[in-house]
């Protein structure tokens, strides 16, 4: 945050500092890395299926987007096995992102980590409680609680990369990672950091699987965002990480600029813990705020990576927000629904979907949703299905995240040359 007075002019830029995306990392049900992610996104091939992370035999649903065993490289230290799954996902994605950005640990100087998560080490702390409560079970080892804290994945990244700048974790339900990326943008613009490792990580666990089932929010089939017959979401797990840095710094060191992060906006419905405002008014406020922050007229938005959970109420409210923001043009903006492919990564969904947004802008392709479900006839949404769609022209893309408690966040990206 900027000082109120007395700071050097270098810290008070007259125009917002431009922020580049120079590295991407991902772990998802598609596999470990950005390459397998892009393959399933491009093909619209769902990675949802049977899973074994938790015992789900007593639930009515039996489907999720589980990350395959890994990490794949033998070069990973054996100590990684002591980390929670969320921490492992975070570390892999962060290492991939900084390698792709042409950086290497230790990342000295003003470098920060900005992470989002909903679950942290909730899977492993559940194992701790299982043992604690079992009368004759094995001893409840405290090592299972070591990754319990929600800040654990972000801290693990900072520790691994020997970062000494600010490290912040946000846990605002499904908007967590998008809000974390927004916090990174703020820190870069204000000169608090020169490089930000921003993203999120989450793991499937008994609590979230049972919780969403208790709300009857999980579809028995792979989720069908914006579909006529949608019946809920599918859960997933994984991590997404972006390396963000000032554009000047990136260009100065000869880095490849994958995209620019132009702005971010957030709002709260302040209405209900789980149900969104039917009018989409809260999400629309975040959209307006993000576009204003990016100084981008809404006419320039040519792509949306939607939150698109597949629940009846959320998709309706999200469409209402697009319609309220873009008017008739809302029906002409290609929309991708990444959750149909990877499931809902909860707090880290905004991170993996930000990665997806950058990949789409870079490739000038809107990735298709999995399946060919008819779109809800009440929506005029242009949901990309079947084949990837070419994105022509001067593209600015949005990534939208809408969470429990009415937390809304929107990120605005563009191709570098488009600015």
């Amino acid at each position: 945050m900027l000082p109120e007075g007395g700071a050097s002019p270098a810290h008070e830029p007259s125009a917002p500092r431009r922020v580049a995306v120079t590295g991407l990392g991902a772990v998802s049900a598609a596999g470990w890395g950005v390459a397998p992610l892009w393959r399933v996104l491009r093909e619209g091939q769902t990675a949802l299926g049977p899973f074994s992370r938790i015992d789900h035999t007593r639930h009515r649903t039996h489907l999720a987007g589980q990350v395959p065993a890994g990490p794949p490289s033998a070069s990973w230290p054996r100590a990684i096995a002591r980390l929670s799954f969320s921490e492992r996902f975070a570390l892999f994605a962060a290492r991939e992102a900084i390698a792709q950005a042409g950086l290497a640990a230790p990342l000295e100087g003003p470098v920060g980590v900005f992470f989002g998560t909903s679950t942290g080490g909730l899977l492993e702390s559940g194992w701790f409680l299982d043992r604690l409560w079992a009368p004759d079970g094995p001893r409840a080892g405290l090592h299972l609680m070591a990754g319990h804290q929600l800040n654990a994945p972000g801290d693990a990244v900072a520790r691994d990369l020997a970062i000494t700048g600010p490290v912040e974790t946000i846990s605002s339900a499904c908007a967590s990672a998008a809000l974390a990326i927004a916090a990174a943008l703020r820190a870069l613009r204000e000169g608090e950091v020169e490089v930000a490792i921003a993203g999120g990580a989450d793991c499937l666990c008994a609590t979230t699987y049972a919780g969403f089932n208790s709300l009857r929010s999980i579809d028995e089939s792979p989720c069908r965002p914006f579909g006529e017959d949608r019946r809920g979401l599918s859960l997933g797990e994984g991590a997404g990480v972006l390396v963000l840095e000032s554009l000047d710094r990136a260009l100065g060191r000869g880095a490849t600029v994958r995209a620019e992060l132009l702005g971010a906006g957030a709002s709260c419905d302040a209405s209900h813990m789980t149900a969104p405002l039917e009018s989409g008014q809260g999400a629309a406020s975040a959209l307006r705020s993000a576009l204003a922050d990016a100084a981008v007229p809404k006419e320039r938005v040519g792509y949306i990576n939607a939150h698109g959970t597949g629940t009846v109420l959320n998709d309706a409210a999200e469409w209402a927000a697009y319609a309220a923001t873009f008017g008739e043009r809302a029906s002409k903006i290609p929309v991708s629904a990444t959750k149909s492919i990877l499931g809902h990564l909860l707090g880290s969904s905004g991170a993996i979907e930000a990665v997806a947004t950058v990949l789409c802008l870079e490739a000038r392709l809107a990735h298709p949703a999995a399946g060919h479900e008819p779109v809800d006839s009440r929506f005029g949404i242009d949901l990309v299905q079947g084949e990837p769609r070419n994105l022509d022209g001067d593209q600015v893309g949005l990534s939208t995240s809408l969470g429990f408690g009415g937390a809304n966040a929107v990120l605005v990206f563009s191709r570098h040359e488009a600015v």
């Binding site: 007075g5 801290d155 813990m273």
Partner: protein, 402 residues
């Protein structure tokens, strides 16, 4: 950027005044933690600063509170109190008010209840109410709903460093003009299971044959911290806007920042004095402030053996060429978590008097820090608040009297 409203729920009662009185008197209020669940070690810590039965009817109707977890109730009461104390309506904050809340553990008791039902009665018995109230941002969401705050709603989770992170986010939000006001704060609850786990880690102060169970920040015989629960909320707004509407600024927030100690283990304290010193120096430099401009330090030292050592090392190295300002160590009174530290920072910035350093009897020669002995605070200079976290996190803030 000024603080114009405050609210708190703590073991001392409602509002910041009971906390101020306890700090002045140097009187912590620790009570026995329930132990029948059998989570605790027989010789472990027994006490914590727990919120007792409080009449919050003026802030939260029972019908509404019934649908909330304890931290949601704490946060809503503190937030409404902060708005009212700033002479604002407490249920119509509007789209230009943001909420930046922080927590170390989130709604811990509801999470425990939910998981217990999943394990013991089967996953199909999971309660949707418990699930929606056990997410970390439930208190922030309930604050937004109760207060009608439709700006950004953000929950920071950085353990002991969380409160100043939230303060920084809120100040940045208002300064940028994205929101006119921000409710910033911290909330935590401390059910027996959380207390027992902290104790199993060896983090909590324990009684010894010589000493009663108490937190002793910077003392030679410190052996852990006293855990606490509650909430503190502050209302931030731009100074001109506040004065224009006739509000009384209590303190000015000059800057916030943070760092990280990568030598820390996942749950322990590191030894990265140099890394944290460099981070803190960078922060002061960016703020255009030198060590000589600081009149007071509000230290996050809690009585933790390694944590206090690290914090002392950072402070000494930042002030290596000049005298150390007076150092307050309020966690001897307020305990760790639950907002007592943030309340102390606000009170110190307002230059409210502090009493003797609780638990401090003998200086630790390894630390070289002797906390302020009590009495009036130096009237001049900036206040540096410092909050280091187990696991490596660190946050700091500069405030001054408005």
């Amino acid at each position: 950027m000024v603080i114009t409203g405050t609210g708190a729920v703590s073991c001392f009662g409602l509002g910041l005044e009971p906390i101020a009185a306890a700090l002045l008197a140097g009187e912590p209020r620790l009570t026995e933690v329930e132990r029948p669940a059998g989570y605790h070690r027989p010789d472990g810590a027994r006490l914590a600063a727990l919120v007792g039965a409080l009449d919050v009817g003026a802030w939260l109707p029972p019908g509404s509170g019934r649908r909330m977890s304890p931290p949601s109730r704490f946060a809503v009461v503190a937030a409404r109190m902060a708005l009212r104390s700033a002479s604002l309506e407490d249920d119509r904050a509007g789209s230009d008010t943001a909420v930046f809340l922080s927590t170390a553990f989130g709604p811990a008791s509801f999470s425990e209840k939910l998981y217990r039902s999943i394990v013991t009665e089967g996953p199909e018995t999971a309660s949707p109410f418990l699930f929606t109230e056990c997410v970390a941002n439930a208190p922030a969401a309930q604050v937004a709903i109760a207060c009608g705050a439709r700006g950004p709603s953000v929950t920071s989770v950085q353990r002991e460093a969380s409160a100043l992170v939230a303060l920084g986010h809120g100040a940045s939000e208002v300064r940028s003009g994205r929101s006119s006001r921000a409710l910033v704060g911290v909330v935590d609850e401390l059910p027996p299971l959380a207390h027992a786990i902290l104790d199993r880690y060896g983090a909590l102060a324990r009684a010894s044959p010589t000493w009663p169970e108490a937190a002793r920040p910077y003392d030679r015989h410190r052996n852990g911290f006293a855990a606490s629960e509650g909430a503190t909320m502050l209302l931030l707004e731009e100074e001109k806007a506040a004065r224009d509407r006739g509000a009384r600024p209590l303190a000015r927030v000059r800057a916030c920042g943070g760092g990280f100690d990568p030598t820390a283990s996942r749950v322990g304290w590191g030894t990265g004095v140099v890394a944290l010193r460099e981070g803190l120096r960078r922060f002061l430099e960016r703020a255009g402030v030198g060590p000589g401009d600081l009149g007071l330090v509000v230290s996050g030292a809690s009585g933790s053996v390694a944590g206090d050592r690290l914090e002392a090392g950072v402070l000494r190295s930042v002030f290596e060429v000049g005298p150390l300002p007076k150092v307050l160590a309020p966690k001897g009174v307020t305990g760790e978590y639950g907002g007592g530290f943030l309340a102390s920072v606000a009170l110190a910035a307002e230059r409210r008097p502090f009493g003797p350093p609780v638990g401090f009897a003998e200086a630790d020669p390894d630390l070289g820090i002797v906390p302020h002995a009590g009495g009036p605070l130096p009237p001049d200079g900036l206040v540096l608040a410092l909050s280091l976290a187990a696991g490596g996190g660190a946050s700091w803030a500069l405030l001054e009297k408005a």
